[in-house]
Symmetry: C2
Subunit: 210 residues, 2 copies
């Protein structure tokens, strides 16, 4: 098993942190996004979607899509559980992971991809070119602010995103905060004390350096 990924890719970081939490090591195959290596024929043969990361199994099966990669790893390396130990816990963790992804991560990504000059005709990752839509930038930034506000309220009630235990949802949320702060200039606002407290605690885990 090996992971095609990029150190510059926040989606790749979601998987690297997950692996570190599990204590799994596997070969990391770098894909140079700056050199557009994801558009090479060699990489398209591995992932026709032309995005990173992709997990390639020993029989050559290529698994794309981060939440799918993480759930597969959870199935084959169940300890320590990062989704939870029962179907119900797994549903709760997967639900919160997805909400973080759609409301926070995807919004921050949309804000960046529609604004950065170097991605002019690449507003959406994947095999097709799409022009940037400037009006999306401010709407996406507002979505990130709403994400911060909503999850600050949630973390006033529970210690972790999915509830009582650290889970895959916290991983996606830390990656979202770091990406939004660094690439979109949207750090957690000071008034969101519960969210900040959660972030300070969770981002101190050794895995987060991955």
């Amino acid at each position: 098993m090996k992971l095609y990924q990029s150190s510059a890719s926040p989606n790749s970081r979601r998987v690297r942190i997950f692996l570190a939490e599990k204590g799994i090591s596997m070969p990391l195959v770098p894909v140079d996004l700056g050199a557009k290596e994801q558009f090479s024929d060699a990489y398209a043969a591995i992932n026709p979607r032309r995005v990173v990361p992709v997990l390639v199994l020993d029989d050559g099966t290529a698994i794309g899509e981060v939440p799918v990669i993480l759930r597969y790893l959870e199935e084959v390396f169940p300890e320590p559980p990062l989704f939870g130990a029962t179907p119900q816990a797994r549903a709760r963790a997967a639900m919160w992971e997805r909400r973080v992804e759609l409301e926070g991560f995807a919004a921050a990504m949309e804000a960046v991809r529609n604004a950065v000059p170097g991605l002019k005709s690449r507003a959406i990752a994947g095999p097709h070119d799409y022009e940037q839509i400037p009006a999306l930038v401010e709407r996406s930034r507002q979505r990130v602010r709403n994400f911060y506000s909503d999850f600050d309220a949630r973390l006033t009630d529970v210690p972790f995103i999915a509830g009582e235990e650290f889970s895959v949802a916290d991983i996606t949320a830390v990656v979202t905060v770091d990406f939004a702060a660094k690439a979109a200039g949207l750090p957690i606002p000071d008034e969101h004390r519960a969210l900040k407290r959660w972030y300070d605690k969770v981002s101190a885990r050794a895995s987060m350096g991955a």
Copy 2:
């Protein structure tokens, strides 16, 4: 267990078809989207995201997000498998289901929500209001066309979206085609013969009337 849902909601239909394929029956609790019942305090207590569908377990746990609901149902009602029988098969089905969702379903939804007069400040479902962005409509329509073209190519090689077996990915794809045709005026173009052949075969299943 019961499902809060709407007969007018394509996301609800994904779950209804899945239940029909499994042969599971459970109470369907209608949520009247036309009367904005999803914004009522009673419904917000069930799902603070204010969208349908939501699966409510007997202990009151509310599970939202369609792919999460479907995977939970697969865990507790494994037969017949609609994701596959091994971790690898489940990863393949979940990956393809997600690609259909992000590239097809979400694109069609974005095209409709940014165009329909009745959704003027409701361009994104959920608890927050967002104004429509007219420039998104044509881009989203182009994404649906690209989705049709990409999946026509795929279905030239394999009989079902995820490969050799009918799966959850086919369910999301049929719902996407029906929604794109009806709500966005984007039926499968005649030249996409493999996609049409797949659609005619799969949409004839009894479950698709659900």
